[in-house]
């Protein structure tokens, strides 16, 4: 075991760091949180810069236009971009992390040739049409129907939790193509261009007040059969490829942010005074912050174990579920602690004067979603118990 980077890995890091230094300086000011069109432009511009510098699709194979980086290099990439406060992957998230890798693994040469470059350059934004109002944790029970009609599928139904549905060009979509077989077996994976007749995209307001997510309604929407990826009714297997990617790397950037946030909390505690002493004079608060920081460092070490395993075996194992479960819980504790420290200042989602209430309160709300999105903590525990511990399935 070692935690030292090789000379090649260091070289990769320093070259990237140098490039980030100049690249970020040339980026325009970040758009407003809820100006999704401006944010699309911004995210696409950043993706184009990455592409031009050879950093787009960092972990994609070279033959499909990616950089073919190892998992360790991918980790370094995420570390350095976070360290440099580079733009987040943003609206390119689904394309780069979900749809692209699925296309690489399962699509036809023509589908790849058309779609992969658009994702890598930031030209095409993708969204995800998987969840439905009645198919959440039980995703395979989805009922959005695609009926074969000549060379088209005709889609009827509804999707929910479609991130960036109002700005995307394409949707990676799971539809039911056979209702007469067990639920996992009648699902297909389609590429659906957004804006087709019969599609209705409605922003979904979350408790943060933001509208990153949409509901998408389908009324007799026609999509060519040629847009299917993989065999008909084989979509569940196709999508499992995608989901494991999400668990592997999706939370690394925000995990690094949380580590910084926890340390900021110590600084904040030193500034906040109460009854003539600083909050930092409270031994219990110090211990809580120390424990959270120590646990975050341990989670970061776990991430490196997961990356090392991926480097050896090519897949992110159930360590990803362990990480997700632990991180969601820890992030909530961090948020609770921050809000208690801010006390009355935590009643504002905006910063108050020089108090960083905005960041902490937003973070606390976001933490509530961490136990739910991308597999609830209950689902994670089931997976860990069944796949790692080998306990029997519920029924």
């Amino acid at each position: 075991m070692d935690l030292q980077f090789t000379a090649e890995e260091d070289a990769f890091r320093y070259e990237l760091r140098a490039w980030l230094g100049t690249a970020i300086a040339s980026m325009p000011v970040q758009p407003q949180r809820d100006d999704w069109t401006a944010r699309r432009r911004y995210d696409a511009a950043w993706q184009r810069m990455l592409f031009d510098a050879g950093y787009a699709g960092i972990n994609w194979p070279r033959e499909f236009g990616g950089r073919g980086a190892t998992p360790t290099e991918h980790l370094i990439f995420l570390e350095e971009t976070e360290r440099a406060r580079a733009p987040y992957v943003g609206q390119n998230f689904v394309g780069l992390l979900h749809a692209g890798p699925t296309l690489i693994a399962e699509a036809t040469p023509d589908q790849k040739a058309f779609h992969l470059p658009g994702i890598l350059t930031g030209e095409h934004i993708w969204c995800q049409g998987f969840s439905e109002p009645s198919a959440g944790s039980d995703l395979a029970s989805l009922s959005c129907r695609a009926m074969r009609d000549g060379d088209d599928y005709v889609i009827n139904g509804q999707k929910i939790w479609t991130s960036f549905g109002h700005t995307a060009d394409y949707c990676e979509m799971l539809v039911r193509t056979d209702s007469d077989v067990p639920k996992h077996r009648g699902i297909s994976w389609l590429i659906v261009p957004m804006g087709l007749p019969g599609m209705d995209v409605r922003p979904l307001r979350t408790m943060e007040g933001s509208t990153e997510f949409c509901e998408v309604f389908f009324d007799e929407v026609r999509v060519p059969v040629a847009n299917r990826v993989g065999a008909e009714n084989d979509g569940w297997r196709v999508t499992m490829v995608t989901l494991s990617f999400e668990r592997g790397t999706a939370f690394i950037s925000e995990m690094l942010q949380s580590m910084e946030l926890a340390r900021d909390l110590a600084e904040l505690a030193k500034r906040i005074t109460r009854n003539g002493a600083t909050a930092w004079d409270d031994a219990g608060l110090r211990r809580d912050i120390g424990r959270i920081c120590a646990e975050l460092d341990a989670l970061w070490a776990l991430t490196k174990r997961n990356v090392s395993q991926a480097q050896r075996t090519g897949v992110v194992g159930p360590g990803g579920n362990v990480f997700k479960l632990a991180y969601a819980e820890l992030r909530q504790r961090l948020g609770d602690l921050a809000m208690h420290l801010l006390d009355r200042a935590s009643l504002s989602v905006d910063d108050i004067g020089d108090l960083p209430s905005g960041e902490h309160v937003h973070g606390r709300i976001h933490a509530l979603s961490l136990g739910i999105a991308a597999g609830t903590s209950q689902v994670q525990r089931n997976i860990i118990a069944e796949r790692i511990l080998g306990l029997p399935k519920d029924r």
Binding site: S141, M207, I272, D343, R344, L368, I372
Partner: protein, 320 residues
Amino acid sequence: MDFELDDDERSLQDGIRSFLAGRYPMTAVRAHEETGAAVDRDLWRALADVGVFSLRADGFGMTETALAFEELGRALANGPLVASHLAAGTTSALVGGAGDGTRIVGLVEPSEPVTVIEHLASLDDLLVVRDDGVFLVDPGSVVSTPVAHPLDALTPISVVSSLPTGEQLGGAELSASLRRDGMVLTSALQLGVCLATIDLARDYALQREQFGRPIGQFQAVKHMMADMLTKAEVTRAAVYAAAVHLDGRGDDADVAQVVRAAKVLAGDSALFCAKTCIQVHGGMGFTWEVDAQRYWKRACVLDTQFGNSDHHAAAFAAAL
């Protein structure tokens, strides 16, 4: 000793609950939020008419009042409810017009790291509660900045940069008694949050199906909800005990400690129940549409009022 609600108490509570269900149902709460959540004077006077502000001035005890405030918390009623009730006084009014709802009275305790006033723009009068006394201030004379995005959209807040001294209404004793009563009433609101989130979660768990059965059949969901109920019932006992003690119908325990215990339990439990309610709802719990998030935000607000649970846990220990 009989620590169960008697018939009068039950019917008073039922009355407040039906009044709120009719006059301020959740549809109205949500609509109110969209229009900025300024206190609705018609509603305020209607609340006054059922006695929300004047219960104690009218001769009822803290016990009955806490039962009413439990319902206000459950209904997610907003506005400076506790402050206006305190202003209406018991034997004599602290601020005229508070009891009949003609004047909307707020309250602030100057605090660190920042002093924040809820509903400032809607206030006719402001009580400033300091260690050494209680002061009446003209809300218009407070130098402050409204916050564009308050955590709880139903509780607009303003950040104070300068607070005039105002007219002194009483000394340290009045201050202590307002704080004590305020703690109990706030903990009653928090108890209402606990009970409302349990109902919300139960309705959802019975109706929502995944994997071919209602999610309420899964042990994971059951056990989360059993923990909610357990915390809520222990909290209920603590809150009722505090109210009963304030009415002089308690046992020989130290009243100040009983009141602190209520605020500690209610603060922790309301946050726990509301957070767990969101988790039981899964993705839907994270939507603006579902009320789970409103209760969580309200639980956050209430915990900061009259001292949070950590503060009172420390105070409880100091008095041991």
